[in-house]
């Protein structure tokens, strides 16, 4: 077990190392002239040369890499010239919005996937099953940014029942006092029920949009697993004890079908991370994703670089956690 954890951690670290080199290569070496970008087109050549030196760009490549990674690990993620702020500050300010949105998106994806996968396999009605499979294909094929625009046009412009792209709260609602920085949680903690409702109201469309791809992915996986498991002999045996269909399904088929989906957690995180870049812009959601896409347009790549490294880091860490978790949960792996 300890050996296994060691191997997993080592390969995870190796992946992060490789990923950081890749990120560094693409972001540091290739773009033409970062100093020019920072100082603007009107700067003199002298100023640019000076800037290049202060940025350490004259040092050998490996030294540049070590400098950058050293800084990154110490919390110095670079300076965003367009915002005039350290990237760390910006990310810290915007992280809660992204986390809250991603949480609700995941919640939506998970619940919807479980419900629909169960519906399509529990009674095995061809119509329901066909619909669910169709939804999964469409969900995976849907450009999330376009879907966001579509639901906004429908539910905000046309029906007028859900808020437009105005961020996390209505302009007239004050943010609740910060405890967790997640508005829904903070509002409940302070008993501000109206604020809570307003926050939930603003979360519906972005969360569904962001959750669509993970939903489609999960529902496919779960459906296939459930079909496999429900053909297993142990389900018949459970039923032969007098256990009802529903209970046998919930207590035996579902846990067995869920186990393999755990390995997909990394993929879902990837979908949420890249999805946030696409979806937050549509809804003017003040999160990291919108920050990244704004920075791209402003060619302020310090933010983009930090985001890319951070994503790789989260991705690898989640995959390691999943591997370890697997060993805790699955009795077959646990003992051996």
């Amino acid at each position: 077990m300890i050996r296994f954890m060691g191997v997993k951690l080592a390969s995870g670290l190796a992946a992060i190392f490789g990923a950081s080199i890749l990120a560094f290569i693409f972001l540091r070496i290739v773009p033409g002239n970062p100093a020019r970008l920072i100082l603007g087109p009107l700067a003199t050549q002298q100023a640019i040369d000076a800037q290049i030196t202060t940025m350490g760009l004259r040092e050998p490549i490996y030294a540049q890499y070590l400098n950058y990674m050293g800084g990154f690990l110490r919390g110095n993620w670079g300076f965003s010239y367009s915002a005039g702020q350290p990237v760390t500050t910006q990310v810290a300010n915007r992280l809660p919005a992204t986390v809250e949105l991603a949480l609700y998106a995941f919640l939506f994806a998970f619940i919807a996937a479980v419900v629909l996968a169960v519906l399509s396999t529990y009674r095995r009605r061809a119509i329901i099953d066909g619909t669910v499979r169709g939804l999964a294909i469409i969900g995976l094929s849907m450009p999330p940014f376009w879907f966001g625009i579509l639901v906004l046009m429908l539910f905000f412009s046309y029906f007028g029942i859900l808020p437009g792209p105005e961020g996390r709260l209505s302009p007239t609602t004050a943010a609740p006092d910060a405890v967790t920085h997640l508005y829904t949680v903070d509002a409940l903690l302070h008993g501000q029920f109206a604020t809570f409702l307003d926050a939930v109201w603003h979360l519906i469309l972005p969360a569904i949009t962001l959750g669509l791809a993970p939903f489609a992915f999960l529902v496919r996986l779960l459906r296939a697993n459930l079909l496999d498991v429900s053909h297993e002999a142990f389900i018949v045996v459970v039923r032969s004890k007098g256990i009802g269909r529903l209970w046998a399904f919930a207590r035996h088929a579902l846990p067995n079908a869920f186990l393999p989906t755990l390995t997909a957690a990394g993929l879902i995180l990837a979908q949420l991370l890249s999805g946030s870049v696409l979806v937050e812009k549509v809804f003017n959601w003040p999160g990291i994703g919108a920050l990244v896409s704004d920075s791209i347009v402003r060619q302020d790549y310090a933010v983009v670089q930090a985001f890319i490294l951070l994503s790789a880091f989260c991705f690898v860490v989640v995959n390691i956690i999943v591997d370890l978790l697997y060993h805790v949960i699955d009795p077959r792996v646990r003992v051996s």
Partner: protein, 366 residues
């Protein structure tokens, strides 16, 4: 069954059997199966897995059901339990337990019968247990389902007792283990413990030893024998191992193409089968008391296609007696009762009486 040897003393009776769905079963009978029909429908083709099967099982009686793969044995077992899943469906017939009709088509009410009055031991012990639940939980699940008012501790005590009954060493300790930590034979013991948890009147054992090695097989059968004797449980043993049937059962039922073609006392059938299919089946088994040279005979021809069954007897194309005969091609044979009253003999063959009489005559001259 020992008196069945006195064939000459028997008053022969041959008559067609007519069960009706409403028959009140006899007093001694724990399980009555009446005219069960089970079909599987896939895209327009109807596979008739079980066709009009009727039989009775008495208290503590051990009935063997034999037949080739695909003859409908397992489908029959699941039909009796009401566990046929779509696209399959029990399309007709009834099942009676202790004189009461079982609510086959009402899954909720059926849940009160399954596990309490009928238990099931399933074929493959490797896949018959939920891999992510502890053995204890899986044993306890059946107890808790039918005995609601007992404490957790009592359930655990009962589970330990059950594991001890099926001779699992260190039962208390092993209760918290998971299926993959058990060997195949041990898992089959667990299966038996689960099936007997609520002392059912009938136990259906579907190929309980097929996946096991010979020594473990013998151990499991001994265990089963001891336990059903203690509980006075009737057993329906489904198998294609005729040797197992000869050793374990009182009565043999032979299935072919979804029908029960012959039912006889175990001694009768091994002395000389009446149905040509049974005869062929017996000949294809190596026996230590018939050590003849030459290859083992096999049944020529292929098993019938259950989606396109002939009008008459399903065995006709392969039958050494009836092949090509008009009556066999045109008419489905009806069950014929043979032997003295109370004899467990019932054969579906147009030539059953004839063959039975001849066999009896040969027996007398011998």
């Amino acid at each position: 069954m020992s008196d069945s040897k006195a064939i000459g003393a028997r008053a022969t009776r041959t008559s067609k059997v007519e069960h009706t769905a409403g028959d009140p079963p006899e007093a001694e009978t724990v399980l009555s199966v009446r005219h069960i029909q089970t079909e599987f429908v896939t895209r327009g083709t109807v596979v008739r897995a079980v066709r009009d099967v009727s039989f009775d099982v008495k208290r503590a009686q051990k009935v063997g059901i034999v037949g080739e793969s695909g003859s409908g044995k397992s489908a029959l077992a699941l039909s009796i339990l009401g566990l046929i899943e779509p696209p399959g469906r029990v399309t007709g017939g009834s099942v009676w337990l202790n004189g009461r009709e079982v609510p086959l088509r009402d899954d909720r009410r059926m849940g009160r019968v399954r596990g309490r009055e009928i238990g099931l031991v399933f074929q493959d012990p490797m896949t018959a247990l939920d891999p992510v639940q502890s053995i204890g939980d899986q044993v306890a699940e059946g107890i808790r389902r039918h005995q609601r008012r007992i404490s957790r501790k009592a359930v655990r005590r009962m589970a330990v007792q059950l594991l001890q009954d099926v001779e699992i060493p260190m039962a208390d300790h092993r209760l918290d283990d998971y299926p993959h930590q058990y060997s195949g034979g041990m898992r089959q013991r667990i299966m038996i413990a689960i099936a007997l948890a609520n002392s059912p009147d009938v136990l259906i054992a579907d190929e309980p030893t097929t996946a096991l090695d010979v020594i473990t097989q013998a151990q499991i059968m001994d265990l089963l024998e001891r336990l059903v004797a203690e509980h006075h449980t009737a057993v329906i043993l489904i198998t294609h191992n005729l040797g197992l049937v000869a050793e374990f059962c009182d009565v043999v039922q032979v299935m072919y193409a979804g029908r029960l073609v012959e039912r006889s006392g175990v001694d009768d059938i091994f002395d000389g089968a009446t149905h040509p299919y049974t005869e062929a089946l017996l000949r294809s088994v190596p026996r230590s008391d018939h050590l003849e040279s030459g290859p083992l005979p096999s049944i020529s021809g292929a098993p019938p296609n259950l989606a396109a069954l002939p009008r008459g007897c399903a065995f006709e194309p392969r039958c050494p007696i009836g092949h090509g005969r008009e009556v066999c091609i045109q008419e489905q044979p009806m069950p014929i009762l043979l032997g003295p009253p109370g004899a467990e003999m019932r054969v579906e063959c147009h030539f059953a009486s004839e063959r039975y009489e001849r066999a009896r005559a040969e027996g007398e001259t011998r």
